[in-house]
């Protein structure tokens, strides 16, 4: 999907001083002290103090910016370049002031004019990267929030017609029936006082009934069922998308790695050896990122595994960097294990989460189904299975019932327009009150009874053919899918006999064994000249698992169809 939202780091969602303050404490410990001599514990503490004061100065600078040139950014956005400059300046202030304070107030050895310049440059690059990243995340975060608010508003619009959540199926059905009854009563009340009613008014009412009553109910049921719009906590969504964020994050990871290690490497090892160190550490980071990607790809992603793997990866990175530092380069520098570990894990999460947030916004705004939905299909499948009843009901309400009402409305409008009809007599409308909208057979499919299905099919076709039959079927507990399948199969057999054979008589037998239903149908219609594969044969294949046969009886006496359907059945009882 192509998101057309223009990236604007200096607009309403530009870095705020509150967010900036949240980031700054990281800077205190973020860059390890690597002056070219072994520092004591006291010096380390002093360095932290200097870094804290430097951070405070940077925070004051950010506050001033926020109150001056960034003040009207919501209405008058500043260019992206200003945000980059702000980040660089922030880093420079923090880096230089820390270095100056450390050398002039605390007199930490190893600091010089040259090191102040190097640190200032280094910190400005780091600041630029960090502030850009933060603004980038903030921008997408707000974009997502806006979309979410719009969606939430849409949902609130339906609020008044929604049913309460967490109702049992029976309660829900009762509620729907009550609502339909209310709607019908309102319908009758509306039209009772008048003698005649205009067709267009009726159509309008039907339309309203479908759109304002039935559809919202189906939406609510669909929501209740979870299904495709299953909600996952936002933070979990971010975590689950971290694996996908690794590839696009690599440039950020490398940039941050180089920015943070450049000065350390050059100061510690000199230009050439330092460059080799830098390349080694960056390569290591890339390698580990790739490792995380591969591991997560082969693992069912959940937030625990992601957190664990990234923590372990950071630990490995720290240990290997330590080894490179101490053994490969035989450095005399102290290597602060905890700081490096803390820094690596922070960088991993910051960069990956930034990209996960942007990926998420893309997915949310466009089509959650595409990437995210498919990736976690297993999870959703379970939800769908659990809620298939609700889904069926929602589909029935949304599809069949409301479509019936809308189609009726449309046809009445059409007829009244094209035929110039007079008003409809109200007695006809009043009779509509008794229109039976039968929810039960469509929703409680597990209650389907084979006998009922057969009786229903016989009733439909009985007027067109003489149908007789003997049925010896299981008492109960025939799977509802089998019952429905048998209903379709019998309907198809009857329709074929009538349509293709022109049969006037058909004899059916259905009996059950412990594991199978045996069905046969003999009609007196015309013999089949050529059997074509089509809808019927597909249906038979599906219902019977290819256990069916059709043959012409000798002497043109008709056609015989037999089928065998696997089913678990209870001891026989005889029905006729």
């Amino acid at each position: 999907m192509v998101n057309t939202t223009k990236l604007n780091l200096g607009g309403a969602h530009a870095i705020s001083y509150k967010l900036g303050f949240g980031l700054l404490p990281f800077l205190i410990f973020g860059v390890p002290l690597t002056i070219n001599h072994k520092i004591s514990n006291l010096e380390f503490l002093q360095w932290c103090w200097a870094a804290a004061i430097g951070t405070l100065l940077a925070a004051i600078f950010l506050l001033i910016c926020d109150k001056t040139f960034l003040k009207n950014r919501r209405t008058k956005p500043v260019p992206n370049s200003w945000i980059f400059a702000l980040g660089a300046a922030l880093g420079a202030i923090k880096g230089s002031s820390t270095e100056i304070i450390a050398s002039s107030w605390f007199h930490i050895a190893g600091l010089s004019y040259k090191s102040i310049v190097v640190r200032t440059l280094n910190s400005s690059v780091l600041g630029l990267l960090m502030i850009s990243l933060l603004s980038y995340v903030n921008f997408w975060w707000h974009s997502i929030r806006n979309v979410r608010e719009e969606l939430a508003q849409d949902l609130r619009n339906f609020e008044s017609t929604f049913l309460p959540l967490n109702m049992g199926d029976d309660q829900l059905l009762r509620e729907i029936e009550e609502r339909l009854a209310d709607a019908k009563s309102a319908f009758v009340t509306k039209f009772t006082g008048q003698e005649v009613t205009q067709p267009l008014e009726v159509a309008k009412y039907l339309r309203r009934m479908a759109q304002e009553l039935i559809r919202p109910m189906s939406h609510k049921i669909n929501e209740r069922s979870g299904g495709r719009f299953k909600k996952t906590h936002f933070i979990r969504q971010l975590l689950l998308l971290l694996p996908e964020a690794i590839s696009p994050s690599l440039p950020w990871l490398v940039a941050l790695c180089i920015a943070t290690n450049l000065r350390i490497a050059v100061e510690s090892y000199g230009v050439w050896k330092g460059s080799v160190f830098l390349v080694s550490v960056s390569g290591l980071l890339l390698l580990i990122a790739q490792g995380i990607k591969v591991t997560l790809k082969n693992l069912k992603p959940n937030w625990i595994s992601i957190l664990t793997i990234i923590t372990v990866a950071s630990l490995i990175n720290t240990i290997l960097a330590n080894l490179i530092n101490n053994f490969a380069f035989q450095s005399k520098n102290p290597f602060n294990f905890y700081l490096t570990f803390f820094w690596t894990i922070t960088v991993f999460f910051l960069v990956l989460t930034a990209h996960a947030a942007t990926s998420l916004s893309m997915l949310e705004i466009a089509d959650l189904e595409n990437k995210y939905y498919k990736k976690y299909l297993d999870n959703l499948k379970q939800t769908l299975m659990r809620n298939s009843q609700d889904v069926r009901l929602a589909k029935f309400l949304h599809g069949t019932l409301s479509t019936q009402l809308l189609t009726s409305a449309f046809r009445i409008e059409n007829l009244s327009k094209t035929m110039n009809l007079p008003a409809i007599k109200n007695e006809i409308l009043i009779a509509e009150q008794h229109m039976n909208i039968d929810l039960a057979p469509k929703t409680h499919q597990e209650d389907l009874n084979l006998e009922t299905v057969i009786r229903d099919t016989f009733y439909k076709w009985g007027s067109l053919m003489q149908i007789s039959g003997i049925f010896e079927i299981g008492a109960a507990e025939i799977n509802s899918d089998v019952v429905m399948g048998m209903g379709d199969l019998i309907n198809e057999v009857l329709s074929n006999a009538h349509r293709h054979g022109g049969a006037s008589n058909i004899d059916l037998t259905l009996s059950a064994t412990d594991s199978h239903l045996e069905f046969s149908a003999i009609n007196n219609g015309q013999a089949i000249a050529r059997f074509n594969k089509g809808y019927g044969s597909r249906l038979f294949d599906e219902v019977t698992g290819n256990s069916w046969n059709i043959e012409n009886l000798p002497d043109n006496r008709g056609v015989k169809f037999t089928a065998r359907v696997a089913v678990e059945s209870t001891p026989n009882r005889k029905t006729n």
Partner: protein
């Protein structure tokens, strides 16, 4: 003229009955049920039957037409439906009984057309003119049954995989059928819009959406 009116939608049925009565036609029975239509027709022996094609599950209007012809060989048959091509309702539809008339609802601009077609159907059924052709919408003549079936499933919102499973063909075949339909109806736009465009055509041609 005495007719039996079979339409499963109560409002449409009542409005049509009122309109026909205004034209001086005696509606001897109006119903939404095949069984009821057959029983009453046998007793009242109407001159013609005005039938809806889609009568819900089970027998459709054409099945009923053949049933009526069996008990009343000279009855005139008029099928009035929203489906511009009967294959859109059921791919297995047969030829119509001899002399039957097939009317698409949105093309009937006046109730007098109905009256005239009912009269024609009575005349043709008692004559010898055969009607062995399948009713095919000229716009759909070059579309195969398989493509119509795909169109129908597509309009029901099924994915290519689901359609393939129902039709017992490969997804590739479904994709090909869809792309042929797209090029046949000259639908433009992205993949998603093409499916919506095809669904729109289905609903227009089945009378659920106005044309144009």
């Amino acid at each position: 003229m005495r007719i039996v009116l079979v339409e499963d939608e109560v409002f449409t049925r009542s409005t049509m009955k009122a309109a026909l009565q205004l034209q001086g036609i005696e509606v001897v029975h109006d119903t939404g049920s095949v069984g009821s239509a057959m029983k009453i027709a046998e007793i009242t022996k109407p001159d013609a039957a005005l039938l809806d094609l889609d009568l819900g599950g089970g027998p459709n209007g054409i099945d009923l037409a053949f049933g009526l012809r069996r008990i009343l060989p000279k009855i005139g048959i008029v099928l009035l439906t929203g489906f511009s091509d009967p294959r859109l309702l059921d791919i297995k539809v047969l030829n119509l009984p001899t002399g039957s008339r097939y009317l698409v609802k949105h093309r009937v601009h006046d109730v007098e057309i109905l009256v005239s077609e009912l009269a024609k159907s009575i005349h043709l059924s008692s004559g010898s003119k055969p009607n062995n052709e399948k009713v095919l919408n000229p716009e759909f003549k070059k579309i195969s049954d398989a493509q119509i079936e795909t169109l129908k499933y597509l309009a029901q919102g099924l994915s290519n995989g689901e359609i393939a499973r129902l039709r017992c063909v490969s997804e590739k075949s479904v994709e090909q059928a869809i792309s042929r339909l797209v090029s046949y109806f000259k639908i433009e736009g992205g993949t998603h819009n093409k499916r919506v465009g095809l669904s729109r055509i289905y609903f227009q041609q089945s009378g659920s959406l106005p044309n144009g």
